[in-house]
C-alpha cells in the first residue's frame, strides 16, 4: 500500500498547529510561566471538505507516537481510529525500512480504549503513555475517578470539532483537563466550515468550549491549495447532464408543490415566525430542519399538532425528492404506498398526536404523485384474466421505467471500453464508479452485470439482437454490444387506449421481457418482489389495521381495513369501484381527486376509471388472492428476498458480478463512504475512506454517478499527489433537478461559510477592532487565584470555617449512564464533586436519603407508557426515604408538558397528566423536581445539597444489587431497551434473559421450552408467540 503524500498545504497546516513552543516529548519540563503569546500548539483547524483531515491527523500521530507522551484522541468513531491505526503502521514501516524496526512498529502506538476495555486495564494503559483513542464517556468517568493522571497529559486532540457543543462530553473533558493541566496542548480539527456559521457566534462559542484562541482556515480557494492542485495538472472532466423523464419531472413538480403547500400552511398557522427562510429552495436541504427547529423550538408548546405534523411532512417530502432520483421506480412506488398505509393506521399510539395523518396526502398534487409514480411501474388492464406471467398478476401490465442515468452509465462504460482498447499500450487501468448509498451501489452492480454476456446467453434465441462478442469469462468486464432492442422508455409510457386484449397481452409480455440487459432484469425482479410484498401488505393491513367488528376475510374492497381511519377530510369519494367499501380516508384521497385530476395521469385509460379509483389495498388484496392460488407450490418459507430462479444467474457468474471488492477487477462500484453501511462506520465517517479507495485502486477512470463535493476535492488531492497518472472523470448529474441544485448550493454554502469565518477571524485577531474579542485567558492556562481557591475550600456552614476534605465535600453520586446527558458536566461546573459509578437504583444520589431519577420529557412519556418508571419509583421508595423524580425539559424547547389547548373534555388514561397523577397517587412519598433545563437542574441540585449529609458511594452502589456480577458488566442500551419492551418481559426477569442469551437474535430463536424455562409458563409462551406472530399469514 502506498503512503499518502503530504502536499505543501498539508505541511503548512501541520506547522501552523505545531508552533515553535509546542511541547514535543516531555511537556512537563516546560515552565508553567512560559510566555503566553505563543500558541503552544493549541489551535482549531478548519478545512474544506475533502482536503484531507486524515493527512494532518496522521502527521500529528506520527509526531506524538512516543511512550513519553500521553496524548488523547477523542471524538473519533472507532472505524476511523482503526484506519488511522492501520495508516500509522504503514507510514512508520515505510519510514524505517530496516529489518529490526518491526519491534518499534508495534500496534500499541495508537491504543484504543472503548467500553469493552475493563477498568483495571485502562489504568495501566493510561500510565503506559503514547497516543490513546478513547471513547469520551469513558475518558470523562476515568478523569473524574482520577484514574487518568491529569497532570501528565501531553495534550488532547479533538476530531470533528464542529460537533462539540456546550452539552457535549468533549467540552467537559477539556474543562477537567484545563483545570488541572495548564501546559498540555489542545488541537481541534474539522472539515465542516458550514457548521461554524450556523447559529449565533458559533465559532466563538466553540472555541471557548475548546479553550482555544487561534483558528486556522484552509478553504479550497486558499492560494496554496489551489497552487498545489494546479501544479500537477487537472484531470479530464466530462460533465454529463442527464435529463429527467417526463414522469419524473411530473413527480418532482408534484412534490415541490406539496412542499409549497406545506410551507404555506405552516406560515399560515404560525404568523409570528420569521418566514424569510421558509422557502421551498431552503426546504430541499437537510439544514432546513434546523432552521425550522430554531424558529419553532421556543414556541413548540404553542404551535398546534397540525404544525408539528407539517414539519414532519416536509421531512418526508424532502426524502421523497431525493428518493426519486436514487430509487428505482418500483421501490419508489412501494415507499409511497407504505406511507399511505402507515398514515391510515388506527390510533394505536398512546398519544393521539402520533395518529394524526398528513394533510399533504389530500392535495391534488399528491394524487398526481401517487398515480404517476404507479404508472412508472405498471398499468392495470381492466377485465384481464389468465395466469401469471413471471410472477406478475394477469391484470397488470408492467411499464417499469428506467432511471435515465442507467442508460447514460452504460454508454459511459462502452466509451471507456473503447478508449481502453485504443490505448492498449498503457496497460489496463481500472474504472471506479462512485455512487450514493448501498442501495444504488447494488443496483448499479446489477445493471452492469447485465451488460455482461454470460447473463444474456439464455435469452439469445428470443431476441433478434446480434450479440457480437463471445464471453470473455470475467463477468464484470464490459463489452460493447448493440442494445437497440431495449424498448424505449417513451414507447412504453404511451399505451394504446383501450387496446384489444390480445394486443395488450402482447404488449404486456413484451414489456415483461423488455431489456435483456441488467436494468430490465433488475426491474422485473423488483416488480416480482413488489407484488409479493403487496400481497403481504394486504394481509398485514387486514390483520393489523382492521376493526374488531369488521369482517376480515373479504378479499375485494377496502372493507378489511376501511374502518381504521376516521372519516374526515374531503367529502365522500363516490368513485369507488366496489360498493361495499365503508368510508375510508384512502378512498377519499383517490376518489376526491378523481373528478378533478382524471386528466392529469390516466387520460389514456378509457375503461379504467373505476379501477383508477380503487384503493391500493383493494389491489393488494387482489394480488394476495392471486398469489395465494398460484404461488403456493413454489413459495419458500418467507416471501421476501430469495432470488428467483428465473433470473438465469448461475451462482458462479453471480458471484463474479457481485464480489466487487474481493478480486482485483477492472471495474469497481463503490458507495461514498459517508453513505454506506459496509465500508465505513456510516454517517460518522468523514469520507476519508474514499480517499483511501483512490489510493488503493489508482483508477484511470472515475465515474461519479452521484455528485459529491467532498469527493471532487479528494480526486483533486489524489491527482496532485500523483501528477504522473492519467485520470479521466465522468461527472453525472440530473439536469434541472433538485440533485443539481443541492450540489451547487453546497459549494456556494461552503464558500460563503469560509468567507464569513475569515471575516470573523480577522476581527478577532486584530487588536484595534475587537468585535469578537477572544479573552486572553480563554485558553484556560492561567493559574487560579490562590485566594479564590482558599475561600472555595471553606465551608461557612461549619463553625469557624473549618475545612473538610475536599474530595468528600459537596459530593453527588452519578450513574455512569448519565454521562450521555449534559447534567454531569454542568454539575461539575458548579463545583460539585462527581462520583461516577454504576447505580442500580436511581441516577443521582445527593444524600444518604435522597435519590433522583432523571427523565427527559420524552423519556417520561415512554417510561410511563412502558411501566418502567413505576418500577423505578418502586425501587427508589424501597431504598430511600426521599425518592425524587426529576422531569427535565430542554432548554430550547417549551417548558410545558401539555400543548396549550390540548386539554380535552374527558379524563383520559392516555394523557401524560393522568398517568403522572396516577404515579403521584401510587407513591405519596415521591417528590417531583420540575426543571426547565439542565442548567436549572444543576442550580436546584446545588440547593438540595445544602445541609445534607454526604452520600456514600459504596452504599449507593450496593443498593438494589442482587447479584454482584451484574455491576461489573455494562449493558448495551438499545438491545436491552428493545428486549424490555417485548411482551412477557419485565424489569425483574429481563436480566435473566440477558445473562442467558448473547443477543436479541438468539432470544428470538429460543424454543418454547427455553423461553418458559427462563420466564415461566405464561410469560414464556407470550414471548415465544410474539416473535412468531406473522401478520402476513392468515389467522
Amino acid at each position: 500500500m502506498s503512503v499518502p503524500v503530504l502536499l505543501d498545504p498539508h505541511r503548512d497546516m501541520v506547522t501552523d498547529l505545531l508552533s515553535a513552543a509546542a511541547p514535543l516529548a516531555s511537556s512537563s519540563d516546560l515552565p508553567a510561566t512560559a510566555p503566553r503569546s505563543q500558541t503552544r500548539g493549541d489551535g482549531l483547524l478548519i478545512m474544506s471538505k475533502g482536503l484531507g483531515v486524515r493527512h494532518v491527523l496522521l502527521a500529528f500521530l506520527q509526531i506524538h507516537a512516543d511512550p513519553r507522551n500521553l496524548v488523547f484522541l477523542v471524538n473519533t468513531p472507532s472505524r476511523e481510529v482503526e484506519q488511522l491505526q492501520e495508516d500509522l503502521m504503514t507510514v512508520t514501516a515505510a519510514r524505517t525500512p530496516s529489518e529490526d524496526s518491526a519491534d518499534q512498529v508495534h500496534p500499541g502506538m495508537l491504543k484504543i480504549i472503548n467500553n469493552e476495555t475493563p477498568a483495571n486495564e485502562r489504568a495501566v494503559l493510561y500510565l503506559m503513555g503514547g497516543i490513546i483513542a478513547v471513547t469520551s464517556r469513558i475518558l470523562v468517568v476515568d478523569m473524574l475517578n482520577k484514574v487518568v493522571p491529569l497532570e501528565l497529559i501531553t495534550g488532547i486532540m479533538v476530531n470533528h470539532a464542529h460537533r462539540v457543543s456546550d452539552a457535549s462530553t468533549e467540552a467537559f473533558i477539556l474543562r477537567i483537563f484545563r483545570e488541572k493541566n495548564k501546559i498540555g496542548f489542545i488541537k481541534a480539527f474539522s472539515d465542516e466550515p458550514e457548521s461554524f456559521v450556523n447559529g449565533f457566534w458559533k465559532l466563538e462559542r466553540t472555541m471557548k468550549l475548546l479553550f482555544l484562541r487561534s483558528v486556522f482556515l484552509w478553504p479550497r480557494f486558499h492560494v496554496k491549495v489551489d497552487a498545489a492542485i494546479e501544479r500537477s495538472g487537472r484531470a479530464d472532466l466530462v460533465e454529463l447532464r442527464v435529463p429527467l423523464t417526463r414522469s419524473m419531472k411530473e413527480i418532482q413538480t408534484s412534490l415541490v408543490e406539496c412542499m409549497e403547500q406545506c410551507l404555506a400552511e405552516l406560515r399560515r398557522n404560525n404568523p409570528t415566525i420569521d418566514a424569510e427562510d421558509f422557502t421551498v429552495e431552503n426546504a430541499f436541504f437537510k439544514s432546513f430542519d434546523s432552521i425550522l427547529r430554531q424558529q419553532l423550538d421556543p414556541i413548540w408548546h404553542r404551535i398546534g399538532q397540525k404544525s408539528k405534523q407539517l414539519v414532519n411532512d416536509l421531512k418526508t417530502l424532502r426524502k421523497l425528492l431525493s428518493y426519486l432520483v436514487s430509487y428505482d421506480c418500483v421501490t419508489f412506488n412501494s415507499f409511497l404506498e407504505t406511507i399511505l398505509t402507515a398514515n391510515s393506521t388506527d390510533p394505536t399510539a398512546v398519544f393521539r398526536s402520533e395518529a394524526t395523518s398528513s394533510p399533504w396526502l389530500l392535495l391534488d398534487a399528491a394524487h398526481t404523485l401517487f398515480s404517476v409514480a404507479r404508472q412508472r411501474v405498471y398499468k392495470k388492464r381492466p377485465g384481464a384474466s389468465g395466469s401469471a406471467v413471471d410472477g406478475v398478476p394477469p391484470h397488470i401490465e408492467p411499464v417499469l421505467e428506467e432511471q435515465p442515468k442507467w442508460r447514460v452509465l452504460q454508454n459511459v462504460m462502452r466509451e471507456i471500453e473503447a478508449e481502453r482498447k485504443r490505448m492498449r499500450d498503457h496497460g489496463e487501468g481500472s474504472v471506479l464508479i462512485l455512487v450514493d448509498g448501498d442501495r444504488t451501489c447494488s443496483q448499479i452492480r446489477d445493471i452492469l452485470s447485465g451488460l455482461d454476456l454470460t447473463v444474456i446467453k439464455a435469452e439469445a434465441q428470443e431476441r433478434k439482437t446480434s450479440i457480437a462478442n463471445k464471453s470473455k469469462g470475467v463477468a464484470s468486464r464490459k463489452r460493447q454490444r448493440d442494445n437497440s432492442e431495449v424498448i424505449d422508455v417513451d414507447e412504453v409510457e404511451v399505451p394504446e387506449a383501450g387496446g384489444s386484449s390480445a394486443a395488450a397481452n402482447a404488449n404486456r409480455s413484451k414489456a415483461l421481457m423488455h431489456g435483456s440487459n441488467g436494468t430490465g432484469q433488475l426491474l422485473r425482479r423488483l416488480l416480482r418482489y413488489y407484488f409479493r410484498w403487496k400481497g403481504g401488505l394486504s394481509k398485514v393491513t387486514k390483520n393489523l389495521f382492521r376493526r374488531k367488528d369488521q369482517k376480515t376475510d373479504s378479499i375485494s374492497g377496502g372493507a378489511s381495513r376501511g374502518g381504521a381511519s376516521v372519516a374526515r377530510g374531503r367529502g365522500g369519494g363516490g368513485g369507488g369501484g366496489r360498493g361495499n367499501a365503508p368510508p375510508n380516508k384512502r378512498r377519499r384521497v383517490r376518489g376526491g381527486g378523481n373528478a378533478g385530476s382524471s386528466d392529469t395521469g390516466r387520460h389514456n385509460h378509457g375503461g379504467g376509471e373505476s379501477e383508477l379509483a380503487a384503493t391500493f389495498e383493494e389491489e393488494a388484496a387482489e394480488v394476495a388472492a392471486f398469489l395465494n392460488q398460484s404461488d403456493q407450490r413454489q413459495e419458500s418459507s418467507n416471501g421476501t428476498f430469495d432470488k428467483p430462479s428465473e433470473d438465469q444467474l448461475d451462482p458462479t457468474s453471480y458471484k463474479d458480478c457481485y464480489g466487487i471488492m474481493e478480486t482485483p477487477e477492472l471495474v469497481t462500484v463503490r458507495p461514498y463512504a459517508s453513505s454506506s453501511n459496509s465500508i465505513a462506520g456510516g454517517s460518522a465517517s468523514n469520507g476519508d475512506d474514499d480517499a483511501r479507495a483512490l489510493e488503493e485502486l489508482r483508477p484511470q477512470w472515475i465515474v461519479m454517478y452521484d455528485p459529491d463535493v467532498g469527493f471532487v476535492r479528494r480526486v483533486e488531492i489524489f491527482k496532485a499527489q500523483h501528477p504522473e497518472m492519467r485520470l479521466k472523470v465522468y461527472f453525472m448529474v440530473y439536469d434541472n433537478s433538485v440533485e443539481e441544485q443541492r450540489y451547487l448550493s453546497q459549494i456556494r454554502k461552503e464558500k460563503g461559510a469560509f468567507e464569513k469565518l475569515i471575516r470573523e477571524k480577522a476581527t478577532a485577531t486584530s487588536d484595534e477592532l475587537q468585535v469578537m474579542a477572544v479573552p486572553v485567558d480563554q485558553d484556560g492556562r492561567v493559574q487560579e487565584d490562590p485566594d479564590e481557591v482558599f475561600w472555595r475550600g471553606l465551608d461557612t456552614r461549619l463553625a469557624g470555617g473549618q475545612t473538610i476534605p475536599a474530595a468528600d465535600a459537596n459530593k453527588v453520586i452519578v450513574d455512569v449512564r448519565e454521562f450521555r446527558s449534559s447534567l454531569p458536566s454542568l454539575l461539575h461546573a458548579r463545583r460539585i464533586n462527581l462520583a461516577p459509578c454504576t447505580l442500580e437504583v436511581g441516577d443521582y444520589v445527593l444524600s444518604p436519603t435522597l435519590c433522583v431519577e432523571r427523565k427527559s420529557v420524552s423519556d417520561l412519556i415512554s417510561s410511563l407508557k412502558s411501566g418502567r418508571l413505576y418500577t423505578q419509583c418502586e425501587a427508589m421508595s424501597l431504598h430511600y426515604k426521599t425518592p425524587v423524580l426529576l422531569i427535565e425539559f430542554d432548554r430550547d424547547k417549551a417548558f410545558s408538558l401539555v400543548t396549550a389547548g390540548e386539554v380535552r373534555g374527558d379524563i383520559s388514561g392516555w394523557d401524560v397528566g393522568s398517568r403522572l397523577t396516577l404515579l403521584v397517587l401510587s407513591f405519596p412519598k415521591l417528590r417531583i423536581i420540575w426543571s426547565s433545563s439542565p442548567e436549572a437542574t444543576a442550580e436546584i441540585f446545588e440547593d438540595l445539597k445544602k445541609n445534607q449529609e454526604e452520600p456514600k458511594i459504596e452504599v449507593a452502589m450496593a443498593i438494589g444489587v442482587e447479584n454482584v456480577e451484574t455491576v461489573e458488566s455494562a449493558y448495551s442500551i438499545t438491545p436491552s431497551n428493545v428486549l424490555r419492551s417485548l411482551p412477557g418481559i419485565n424489569s425483574k426477569n429481563y436480566r435473566h434473559i440477558m445473562a442467558r442469551a448473547e443477543n436479541l437474535k438468539e432470544v428470538s430463536e429460543w424454543t418454547i421450552e427455553q423461553c418458559q424455562e427462563v420466564l415461566g409458563q405464561e410469560f414464556g409462551r407470550m414471548l415465544y408467540n410474539f416473535f412468531r406472530t406473522d401478520p402476513k399469514e392468515d389467522g
Partner: protein, 213 residues
C-alpha cells in the same frame, strides 16, 4: 400524621378562599363543593392540594409558607399545584422545589387553568384506581406492541414498522434479516439499517466476551 376524614367522598372539597379561582370552572368531570378544610382542595380521603399562581407568589412570597405551616402534618399526600403564569419562572420554581422537599409536599406544575383543573379532577377520579395503567405489560394489540418495541431503536418510525412487517412478516424474520435485505426496504438508509442490525445482533452484555475467556 392525622388524617382528615371526608364527609362526602364523591366530590372535591374546596376551601372558600378559592372562590373566584378560574380553575374551579375547569373542574367538570367530578362534582365539587365548598367545605371547611385546611387545604385549598381536598381531592381524596388522604390527599389534599394547595393552589399557587406564580404571579401571585412573586408579589406575596410569604403566603405559601403560611399556608404550609397551617397544613402542619395533615394528609398523607400533599400536593402543591402550581400555575406557571409568568415567563421568568426559574427562580420561583427553584425556591418552591426546595420548600416542597423539606415539607413533604409533591410539586405539580400546570401551565393553564384548564390543566390545573384537569389535575384536580384526575386526582379525585383516580382516587381508588389501581396503578395498572402505569405498570409494566399493558396489553395492547399486536401492532402497537411491535411498534413500541421497534421504535426503541433510534430513527425507526411507524412507517418503518409497517414496511418491516409487510416485507418480512414476523418479528423473528425481521431479526433474521440481513443488512442487505434491510437496506432494500424503501426508506431504509444506511444509518437506520445499521442501527436495526446492531440492535438485534449486538451482545446484551458488553464485556461478556472478556469475562468468558
Amino acid at each position: 400524621p392525622t388524617l382528615q376524614r371526608s364527609r362526602s367522598s364523591n366530590s372535591v372539597l374546596v376551601n372558600r378562599c378559592q372562590e373566584g379561582n378560574t380553575v374551579l370552572s375547569h373542574i367538570r368531570n367530578v362534582p365539587w363543593e365548598y367545605s371547611d378544610i385546611i387545604a385549598d382542595y381536598q381531592v381524596g380521603q388522604t390527599t389534599c392540594a394547595l393552589f399557587l399562581s406564580l404571579k401571585y407568589h412573586r408579589i406575596h412570597p410569604e403566603y405559601i409558607h403560611t399556608r404550609i405551616k397551617q397544613l402542619g402534618q395533615h394528609y398523607l399526600l400533599r400536593i402543591l399545584l402550581c400555575l406557571v403564569d409568568i415567563a421568568d419562572h426559574q427562580q420561583s420554581i427553584r425556591d418552591l422545589t426546595r420548600v416542597c422537599l423539606y415539607n413533604n409536599i409533591t410539586l405539580v406544575l400546570s401551565w393553564s387553568p384548564e390543566e390545573a383543573g384537569r389535575y384536580l379532577e384526575t386526582f379525585k377520579a383516580y382516587e381508588h384506581k389501581p396503578p395498572d395503567l402505569i405498570k409494566e405489560r399493558i396489553e395492547g394489540d399486536y401492532l402497537s406492541k411491535l411498534t413500541d418495541s421497534l421504535t426503541q431503536i433510534k430513527s425507526v418510525n411507524k412507517t418503518d414498522v409497517v414496511t418491516l412487517t409487510s416485507t418480512f412478516g414476523s418479528l423473528q424474520k425481521i431479526i433474521q434479516a440481513s443488512p442487505d435485505d434491510l437496506s432494500s426496504c424503501p426508506g431504509f438508509g444506511q444509518q437506520k439499517v445499521r442501527r436495526l442490525y446492531e440492535a438485534f445482533n449486538q451482545p446484551f452484555v458488553l464485556n461478556k466476551r472478556q469475562k468468558k475467556s
